[in-house]
Symmetry: C2
Amino acid sequence: MTVTTPRGFRASGVAAGLKSGGAADVALVVNDGPDATVAGVFTANRVKAAPVLWTQQVVKGGVVRAVVLNSGGANACTGPAGFQDTHATAEHTAAALTSASPRLRLAGGDVAVCSTGLIGERLPMPKLLSGVRTAIRGLSRDGGTTAAEAIMTTDTRPKTTVIQGAGWTVGGMAKGAGMLAPAMATMLCVLTTDAVAGPDTLDAALRAACRVTFDRIDSDGCMSTNDTVLLLASGASGIEPTEAELTAAVTAACHDLAQQLIADAEGATKQIAIEVVGAAGEDDAVEVGRAVARNNLVKTALFGNDPNWGRILAAVGTTGAAFEPDGIDVAVNGVWVCRGGAAAEDRSKVDLSGRDVTIRIDLHAGSAEATVWTNDLSHAYVHENSAYST
Amino acid sequence: MTVTTPRGFRASGVAAGLKSGGAADVALVVNDGPDATVAGVFTANRVKAAPVLWTQQVVKGGVVRAVVLNSGGANACTGPAGFQDTHATAEHTAAALTSASPRLRLAGGDVAVCSTGLIGERLPMPKLLSGVRTAIRGLSRDGGTTAAEAIMTTDTRPKTTVIQGAGWTVGGMAKGAGMLAPAMATMLCVLTTDAVAGPDTLDAALRAACRVTFDRIDSDGCMSTNDTVLLLASGASGIEPTEAELTAAVTAACHDLAQQLIADAEGATKQIAIEVVGAAGEDDAVEVGRAVARNNLVKTALFGNDPNWGRILAAVGTTGAAFEPDGIDVAVNGVWVCRGGAAAEDRSKVDLSGRDVTIRIDLHAGSAEATVWTNDLSHAYVHENSAYST
């Protein structure tokens, strides 16, 4: 039910000692083909980790045979030496994989690298490279689950998904629990498919999928230095879906993983969908949704089970979207507490006892809509991010 | 030491029953002249409270004789009825003041109105108007202190200031502890001066002052619906300072009040100055400062006494300012923990045991600089904003 569900992929996850607790921290995903097509989407942060800089280059060629991922260190803000560490990891992985499976004949440029963990510290390279060799020995057709576990940081559970096409499949894994914000909104994600797809089709499908999924979740408004989403195609099914079919499946996989990320966000007690409707355009709807999703006063109110629609309106008012302030309606869990920019139904009617919260904002300015997902701001978030360096 | 220190002003503060606890909640500031010049700066939020809409109009005329302020209710998102409440408050204040001091001959359009408190609820008008009448009876030349107390909401202490010119004075009071973000960064502020100044000079001085003070503090990234800064000039000193002299004094007063706001921010345990230097332009420096000030991961790290410069770089990376990622230096309390975008001095050398924190960011892209002030994100902030509606 993960990256190894589609045919043509092997994976593994091992403990290399990068994390102090002895948990798995190095993952490897290998595409055995026949194809080795790839597409990637990366953080928009201008401060990019070394593995992002490396993998962006690698993906440009449209071919990737293996992805090596580590938790326990982001290799971000580590200067030229950190970039050399990433390069060495790719070269070492290529050589060791070729030695183990000579028919693969990998070069360093066939290997994508992803890292996650504390920013600003060098990786312990001997441990990491030793872990890569162990991971290669452990590669298997059902290794996707241990790979998903090996990329966890503050995640409390691994995130995996499978979407079935007609004779082909999309699988995926992701990690991320904080520093989630558009664009991008996940830390690391590897998707695999046994469909046949050219690099342009793969790229178009992945971008379309990310735009309405990972780019629309916002846990804490903080954009990461390491965000990477890769989509690998093996072609092992022999079936070539249309771009629309592929996009639909990849979007479903990304949506599933994005929802798992928000559900496991650091300290969250509420999972919040902000549905913006009646917008003049989709961009307006997304801008309003993000402004509400990032508003600490809205997020703390919901943590306190308070349907404080005034704070929601104050957040909407910071945007440039088309609306009239006295033309906005707001419903919280189905109760229209605000109509025409003023109080309507009694806020005591709103039931916020559950984990799921839906905020619906009608701008009455058009017919476009978008949903942004977020979570509340809790004591546990403050604790997790003040008591530990991450 | 407040709005009544400059000659020509009386003030008072009374408990009208708008707050449940019986604390003072209605304040009045009267300009006895001879001049009644005014300038105002207001929230950039497009969802503006009724008193903001009213006072923006009133200030356009360049003349204001009295300011009536209430805590215990923001009168925001209250529709046309809320606007009528503000209008009625101004008319009632004008009539009652004229009755008490016939030489003032006030009309409603001479009265500015400011409100602060919960968004989305109507004000209890009989209580408010009764409070205004009591406040008029209590007006005195030393009423500035009680006025400053009457505008407090979650503030733990009143904020007042006095700056001495050469034969003239600027006094001020402000309130605000949350929902502080550019632009504007305070909820309510009334400044007074006995200098002689035309409306254009007053307006220029106030805008220049706000730009480098209230617009550069950011407590929680949340922009209010009610922010109002008014500057009233009585001309009672008979002295007309130059625009530069007046600007300097008003800036000093605003700076003092802005620092008091950040010092009293909800739940804050750290008072943080973010000094951005080496910027290509002042706008770049401000953009970078604000991005760091709004980053929840930076703010929680500092709450935990963690000089997590990686999170600072990640925040800088979200901006459009001119810089090279590998050209950024960061010092925390004087220790250059990051040079050239990578680790430098040992982070354990940073002393974060005190309340004051200085983050210095050198972009190495030019010679412009700016400082933005903020505070940390603590358990007390989450508690205060989840346990109570504000």
